[in-house]
Symmetry: C3
Subunit: 411 residues, 3 copies
């Protein structure tokens, strides 16, 4: 019977990770539709293809390089050996973490939409998923002795408490969002976003139902993102699930009020709350999660307007405020609301959270600037003026979003 | 090893509830798209936002009030105490049952679409989810000694057999559908639904693919709705899964034949079958489920036409026949097809099922009338004539469904 | 405690199968949207209804006849007896395998789209799911002593190694694809696909986002298709999950390169990879899976063009190259890349794989020709010229895809 229990425990872990991986994989469909709904119709096809292709490139690179960098695992051994331990648990663990890694290019994609070159961005995706992301991931969750559990120096300076990021507010979202900021700035705004006198002329989004569909796909999958970060079925925590729910709800309601019922902000407010709760979802009280999510939505609504109207940064989906700033906020918030005095589980340190959150920002900016500057000099990162006017769909993919409409007089 | 088995059992329960909760949460996306596809394009954005916001309000109210009312649980204790028992099982149990409770406003939403005020309906949602629903829920599944297991009076009069509603045909669907009926009647029909001579002029739906997408999302999530109503992995029943399948299929095929291949009726026929099977899904034979679902679809197809053409009630998505009448039918059908003589598992009483089903109708009508009459007197529940003509999207959300189409001459 | 362990093991199996069944059920929504996006707008509604109705007919027939044929199980016993063993495991096992069986008409549907009669095809669906499919399924996975584990004759001629098809490259996909080929040829091309001089005039697809949505729904559900083919939680294999991932990614990347960034080929390339990996997903190394998927996409891209432009077969969604040829390739590839010398798990035979793969082709062609010839003589299988021009939506369902657009001058 002991063997049955062991098998059940192992197979439970494999199922747990596999379900998480599939749920987060489905989130990438959500990234795609969120972008489809937000960009103009002439760039919808490109949004769909980018997400799928960047995910595929990420898979290959992370399998060959990234995962090894972060965790020291080598998959170039016979299948029998891959399956030898725990029914292939390491393989589904890879799958799960790949879906996190591939979120980096998916996040960037939304910022640089409608004017970036396809292949240059594919190369950038490969570099971030193969090197940048695994380096930071390896510090927080893996074998690199910095920031995380293995960092004795940081621990010494923060009372023995390492940087904590349960499900990636900082490791995934802020990393992606801050990388995207640099890319968006280097790329420059879309033609027509500001007129000749520098006046803001917002470009209308194409399709609210597709935007909403993307948001729904992301919200649903996010419960896998957070809950399955336990990495083992026996580590599952009901608190993580409900905190994700409460932060999402807080995000929706604050975005509703602050944006005066704007559908774009409301559907993204849900995501802002979810971005911010990842880090502390295992630590804070559900009411703390509600507040964290609510503040995240406020950051997003105000930050997006500030970014666009004051800083004049044309971040199409607002991925910097959404993933970048809200991710950093999530890392820091974990150090506040995770405290026992605020009803949290305790065992988190404010200083460590601030250090970790800012470390990610610094690393993202340095890597992103280096990579995009290099790619810009080598190949150029932006479509030509004419290509941008025609749209990525016809230029890159030779097909529009609704091909039949072009060829028939009445649809 | 005993500890491992205990942990496995507990974590299995948490996973089970969490998966169920996420599946039913995804159904709310289905409610949204079913409405998006059915209303006119000028009200699509409103459909999306309503579902998301009412879900969020429901979460907050049910967390603070409703769940406590029904089950006597208080969540205002430190996170450590919330997690103390069974890895936070109570939290995911809340999450799962919240997704049921939030179905009440989601059901109503489809009936009152295209002319109801946003904030008044949000308040109504809060009242139903905070008070009305938990009261009835508490009787059937919770701590209130009426109708359910704890009702010795009813049991005495029905041979010791309490009212049985496994997954909410009555508790959720009929409650929501009958509340909606009153709201729809008080609200009155959309402008133009009947012409000046009172002749019926049906308002065309906007988008069949979105309607179908909504139906698919609902159907897929419904297996979580029913199967995870076991509330514990060890209570899982293959019969519940297959009965849901068979009732759905029965609903599709009967709707196909009766409606002569109408896509709206067919996609809603699947839902009619699923509404009706919830109550007895653990009790009836798969062939009984097929018949229950088939009859439900007949009720929906005929009931919708009767409601619209004879009663002249402008229930946009037909939520009263779909959730109301089919829900009541499901409660009663459990008392018929659950009998051993019809191949069922037995242990159900026809009288108890009739009593429970009618109790829900009475309670729904009384509460709904009181709440909407009060709200109508205080704030008004209906948009102005001009607002209705412009459409909820521009009036409430300042944005249309396809914003780009408004601003470019060629899309 | 032993009882708890037994219950946990049994309920884990039921949950495992149920999750798999629901995931593959959701794939049918994917089949629907893949077709919606690919056909012209005047046939979108028909695509949605066909999938739902054929799934329902399949459920009924497979419950009453097919499953019994393949596995010798009879469901016409009281519910109590159905639930007696392992919490109703057999019922969810049926549900899971039904979702496979129903893939046969779903595959055919994409090939014959835009000109086939609705009811004739419904009858054909019933015959294939009731008889043809279960016969072959019963050989490979069930009680019929041919090809599979029980085939001593084949085993004798292949060194004791039976035909291996883990998740249905051959049993499901090639069977469906080759049946579809015959149907498509007998039906003839859509009007206007080739002009009067026989020059190819490709008919534009309607909607790339819906095509992509369909592909995403299929990809996500496919992990249930493959992983849950273990049929028991204790048999779960991480290798199956990652091989599915790698084959999908290989398919995407090869389709990207060969098609020069065509969105239709890229989204179908993912599916081609997944079709081909089913058979050997438990046997090959992840890099083998990547190659299998890449070759499958090459077969699809080149095969589709060859089928359309050289063979002049109007297979609307390209289901013959996608499911038929890639399915056969998957069966054979398992016999190559499953070998230990190529890093695989071993225990597969090249000859057995070739025999099994060709047996399916032969059986598909014979059955398909017989059934469609008979139906054509009896009822006709094709819409009239006028009906085809008007479109299936108005002719069969009396409703178009976007009904509101017809009746308002401005949407």
């Amino acid at each position: 019977m002991e063997q049955t229990v062991n098998t059940l425990s192992n197979s439970g872990d494999v199922l747990f990770m596999m379900l998480g991986a599939v749920m987060v994989f489905a989130m990438h469909g959500g990234f795609a539709f969120l972008e489809v709904g937000t960009v103009r119709r002439k760039n919808q096809v490109n949004a769909l293809v980018k997400i799928l292709v960047d995910f595929s490139i990420s898979t290959l690179i992370y399998f060959c390089v990234g995962y090894t960098l972060a965790y020291g695992i080598n998959f170039f051994i016979p299948a029998k050996d891959l399956m030898a331990a725990n029914q292939g648990y390491e393989l589904v663990h890879f799958f799960f973490l790949l879906t996190f890694a591939a979120a980096i290019p998916a996040i960037i994609s939304g910022g640089i939409a409608e004017r970036a070159k396809f292949w240059t961005q594919a190369v950038a995706a490969g570099i971030f998923v193969g090197i940048t992301y695994p380096l930071f991931e390896g510090m927080v969750w893996g074998r690199i002795s910095l920031l995380g559990q293995n960092d004795s120096w940081l621990a010494q300076h923060t009372g023995g408490i390492p940087f904590h990021d349960y499900a990636g507010s900082v490791v995934v979202h802020s990393m992606g969002g801050w990388i995207a900021l640099v890319a968006v700035v280097l790329l420059g705004p879309r033609r027509g976003r500001w007129d000749h006198q520098g006046r803001s002329t917002p470009i209308p989004i194409s399709n609210v139902p597709f935007l909403a569909l993307g948001s729904w796909m992301l919200c649903v999958g996010w419960f896998g993102f957070n809950v399955m970060s336990a990495a083992s079925i026996q580590g599952i925590s009901g608190l993580v699930a409900i905190n994700s729910l409460m932060a999402m709800v807080g995000g929706i309601l604050v975005a509703l009020v602050l944006s005066r019922n704007d559908p774009g902000f409301i559907h993204n407010g849900a995501l802002a709350g979810l971005v911010a709760i990842c880090a502390g979802s295992d630590k804070v009280h559900p009411l703390g999660a509600f507040i964290i999510g609510g503040i995240a939505a406020a950051i997003f609504v105000r930050g997006f307007t500030w970014e666009q109207e004051k800083l004049k940064i044309d971040d199409v989906l607002g991925v910097w405020p959404l993933h970048g700033i809200c991710g950093s906020w999530g890392g820091i918030a974990c150090g506040i609301f995770g405290q026992e005095v605020l009803g949290g589980m305790g065992g988190v340190g404010f200083v460590a959270q601030v250090v970790g959150s800012f470390a990610a920002i610094g690393m993202a900016i340095v890597f992103s600037f280096t990579v995009y500057k290099f790619l810009d000099l080598m190949f150029g990162i932006r479509l030509s003026e004419e290509e941008e006017m025609i749209g990525s769909d016809l230029v890159i993919h030779k097909l529009e979003s609704l091909p039949e409409d072009r060829t028939t007089s009445f649809r």
